[in-house]
């Protein structure tokens, strides 16, 4: 035995020769079957991964990925001091699918009724109307939605929607406008800057895990980063409120139709205030008169009247035909081309005799103005008026602006009555905003600025991502405009602008009382205005107030509109902290002590 064990290898080799052939054949067969099986699997693998790949991938994606749409808010609108004028809120609409209820409809109604503030019977009736997709409540706030979710009821669906909130209500609705149910701007800046206000719609297909937790693998970065841009306005809400209060007081007192106050910075044309009364609440825009949706300060035309006289003087001085110390004879009543022209106060003042240009402005003499402008050739006069932009749009960023109406050149040059009436501000029309722009031209040394209310889009770091394009061009010489502004100072200190005086300060101004043209004929309805330039020594602001159809015999620019301007400038002084130029006048009683 020992030998066999020690020679085990030898016994094996001798035994191989005697193994039957079928074993090796069987082995080969097994090998072949296995190999072909492997090849078959490999072929199937290749087929699935290469040929069917796109289809299978699409199926997998459709199953695994769901769209993620974070709450993308329309950009807020803020004023100069970061007070919010328009901002988006997240609200929810509750839909109900009764076929998915796992409790009786009455139970669901009982639980929902106190939260959505409807009666149980109402809700039960509502649930019977359809199998699914019944709207139950709109504009639910997020706290209410938390309560509804806490009920843990089946068959409720909450859709997130955006709602625009206007905290200042009707104070700035003429500028900001409103959005309709589809969250599209329909008026004001919401309409004209729709593209800047609406961020790009962001949505991505992302994956969730088994418990519904969001997995970060597929979430793109731009989806996470919140859009923090805001539209900054040049508006000052405090001044807007003060101006509106002052205007409303006069509107109520004189039972006027409507009114507007515009405050503009003369250097760059930015509007600090634009009040137009009456106004509407943008949240309930559907209840307001559609006429109010447009801002009448830039969409309605009016004949400026005497407030245009300083600009005519500037044109005359610029042409060189008239010097500041020239004297003209004021007859009080003349006839031009067969048409009679007289002063406003001809009835009791009559002819004033020779007047300097400053005096003509102080008395607001129509006849004096006609004589001044007769020194300028009508064609040259017309060209200057066109250069100043009369008959064209101002080009501001607010929508629905109207261009002024102006006679064609042929008519203007042929009939001498045309330049005569233009000399005292009638016979053509413009918007109040354009009048403000022209007075800013006088105040800032002859530059035609673009009135605008938008500073631009700023992000939270304070960087501007978009700014509007605002051209500025020089039209008149600074010496001319300075001469005119000092004359306007005389108007306030000595002339018809006395109601606008403020102790301790000096301002320039011009009253305006124009007859309104109704049905092609001048009627007894008036439109009164007053424009102020403040401070007189170094003008920074121009304030225009226009009151349409004040009733009463004492309804003139000096009585109706000038107090509004005075009140607005007083508020402006305290807000901006402008010290008095003549401090002695402020507290005369203390000085005596």
């Amino acid at each position: 035995m020992a030998t066999t064990t020690s020679r085990g290898s030898e016994t094996t080799t001798t035994a191989t020769k005697t193994r039957p052939q079928s074993t090796s054949l069987r082995l080969l067969l097994v090998w072949v079957v296995l190999i072909f099986g492997e090849l078959g699997l490999a072929a199937r693998l290749v087929y699935l991964h290469v040929v069917e790949a796109p289809v299978l991938l699409a199926k997998a994606r459709a199953q695994q990925l769901m769209p993620l749409r974070p709450f993308s808010a329309r950009r807020p609108i803020v004023d100069r001091l970061n007070n919010v004028l328009a901002i988006d809120e997240s609200v929810y609409t509750l839909y109900v699918h009764p076929y998915l209820f796992n409790q009786p409809a009455e139970v669901v109604a009982t639980q929902l009724a106190p939260i959505v503030k409807r009666s149980v019977s109402d809700l039960t009736q509502l649930f019977k109307t359809a199998e699914s997709g019944i709207p139950v409540a709109y504009e639910l706030s997020e706290q209410v939605v938390d309560q509804i979710k806490g009920l843990q009821l089946e068959g409720l669906e909450l859709n997130q929607e955006r709602q625009r909130l206007y905290p200042q209500a009707d104070l700035t609705s003429n500028l900001v406008g409103y959005v309709n149910g589809d969250h599209e701007g329909q008026a004001g800046l919401e309409y004209s800057l729709q593209q800047q206000l609406e961020p790009l719609a962001r949505s991505a297909k992302v994956s969730f895990d088994g418990q519904g937790v969001l997995l970060p693998d597929r979430v793109p970065l731009n989806l996470i980063r919140a859009d923090d841009q805001k539209l900054h306005l040049t508006l000052d809400t405090r001044l807007q409120r003060a101006a509106r209060a002052a205007l409303k007081k006069q509107l109520n007192h004189y039972r006027a139709l409507r009114g507007t106050v515009i405050v503009m910075d003369v250097q760059d044309g930015s509007l600090l205030t634009l009040v137009s009364e009456p106004s509407y609440d943008p949240k309930r825009y559907y209840q307001a008169d559609p006429e109010l949706y447009k801002n009448w300060a830039l969409s309605d035309l009016y004949e400026p009247g005497s407030t245009f006289k300083p600009i005519n003087v500037a044109i005359a001085l610029e042409t060189g035909r008239v010097k500041p110390d020239n004297v003209f004879y004021d007859e009080g009543k003349i006839a031009v081309g067969g048409w009679p022209i007289q002063n406003n106060d001809y009835a009791y003042a009559g002819s004033r005799g020779p007047l300097s240009i400053s005096k003509i402005l102080e008395y607001s003499s129509n006849v004096g103005m006609v004589h001044i402008m007769q020194q300028v050739k009508p064609a040259v006069y017309y060209d200057w008026l066109t250069r100043l932009g009369i008959g064209q749009k101002v080009g501001s960023d607010l929508p629905f602006e109207t261009a002024g109406q102006f006679k064609p050149k042929a008519q203007f040059t042929s009939y001498p009555i045309e330049p005569a009436t233009t000399a005292f501000g009638q016979g053509f029309s413009m918007t109040p905003l354009q009048m403000t722009q022209l007075h800013a031209l006088l105040a800032n040394g002859g530059k035609l600025v673009t009135p605008h209310v938008v500073q631009g889009l700023f992000n939270s770091a304070g960087e501007a991502t978009w700014k509007p394009d605002l051209p500025v061009r020089q039209v008149l010489a600074p010496t001319t405009t300075q001469a005119v502004v000092s004359m306007m100072g005389n108007v306030v200190s000595r002339g018809t602008g006395k109601p606008a005086q403020i102790p301790g300060y000096r301002l320039g101004g011009k009253t305006g009382t124009a007859q309104k043209a109704v049905g092609g004929q001048y009627s007894s309805a008036r439109i009164t205005s007053f424009v102020g330039i403040f401070p007189l020594e170094a003008p920074r602001y121009v304030v225009l107030s226009v009151v349409d159809e004040p009733k009463g015999d004492d309804a003139y620019g000096s009585t109706v509109a000038a107090p509004v301007v005075k009140s607005v400038i007083e508020t402006l002084i305290t807000l901006e902290g402008i010290p008095p130029s003549h401090p002695a006048e402020v507290h005369p009683q203390t000085k005596k002590q």
Partner: protein
């Protein structure tokens, strides 16, 4: 050389065993006297556990006959290093002795020369071809590598899941904060408007601010140092602050 000596389960191991066992410290002195001192080993090999003198005496008392024999053995062959007189040790030696009788392979730890001259084949393994040896080496090396990789995968997976959870938590917090910011702004702005409306409508004694009731102050020039220093001299007198306050 005595080959047939039956290994006794006692004190004296056979010389064959002695040949292949590591050198151990020779216990000095008489077993019966009880003093056991160990000589430090020259080879630094394994020190078997020493039994106490009482254990030895017990052991010796159970087999009194053998003790004599052991003494005689030790006196006969002093040049052999005796292992420690321990029962456990002798059992082990007996087993190894049995194994070694069948085949004395060359792999024993002892460096002594075998007294047998032939080798016994104990395996039927054949010498593997080179490629198979390489594969075996690869397999041997890849097993720990695979274990390491598996561990690494588990760690990475755990880290992946935890980072995803942390991100989701942070995202939830972010949306919560954004919602709170919206609510806060809406509430504060509405409140501002309400306050102003109240001020406008109420018959309270609120007066509009006008230049007439506004005080304008001109900024004064900055004081020179000298006036300050003269003032501080007077302050120094009050170093000791009054305790009354």
């Amino acid at each position: 050389m005595a080959t047939g000596t039956k290994p006794r389960p006692s004190v004296s191991p056979s010389p064959q065993v002695l040949n292949h066992l590591p050198k151990l410290p020779l216990p000095q002195g008489d077993i019966l006297s009880g003093t056991m001192q160990s000589k430090p080993t020259s080879r630094g090999s394994v020190q078997p556990p020493r039994s106490t003198p009482t254990q030895q005496r017990q052991h010796a008392s159970t087999v009194p006959g053998r003790v004599v024999g052991s003494r005689s053995t030790t006196s006969k062959e002093p040049k052999f290093a005796l292992p420690h007189q321990n029962s456990g040790e002798s059992k082990r030696s007996r087993r190894s002795q049995a194994g070694r009788n069948a085949n004395e392979s060359v792999t024993a730890s002892g460096l002594r020369q075998s007294s047998h001259s032939y080798r016994q084949q104990i395996t039927t393994a054949f010498e593997a071809p080179a490629w198979l040896q390489v594969l075996m080496k690869i397999q041997r090396g890849s097993t720990p590598l695979a274990c390491l990789l598996i561990l690494g995968v588990l760690v990475l997976y755990g880290w992946n899941v935890s980072s995803q959870r942390a991100w989701s938590k942070a995202y939830r917090e972010l949306s919560q904060l954004q919602r709170q910011e919206r609510e806060l702004i809406a509430a504060s702005e509405s409140r501002k408007h309400e306050i102003v409306q109240q001020a406008e409508n109420s018959k309270s004694n609120l007066v509009r601010q006008v230049p007439a009731n506004t005080v304008f102050l001109t900024p004064q020039p900055i004081q020179e140092r000298s006036s300050l220093e003269s003032r501080s001299a007077s302050v120094r007198q009050f170093k000791q602050f009054p305790l009354g306050y």
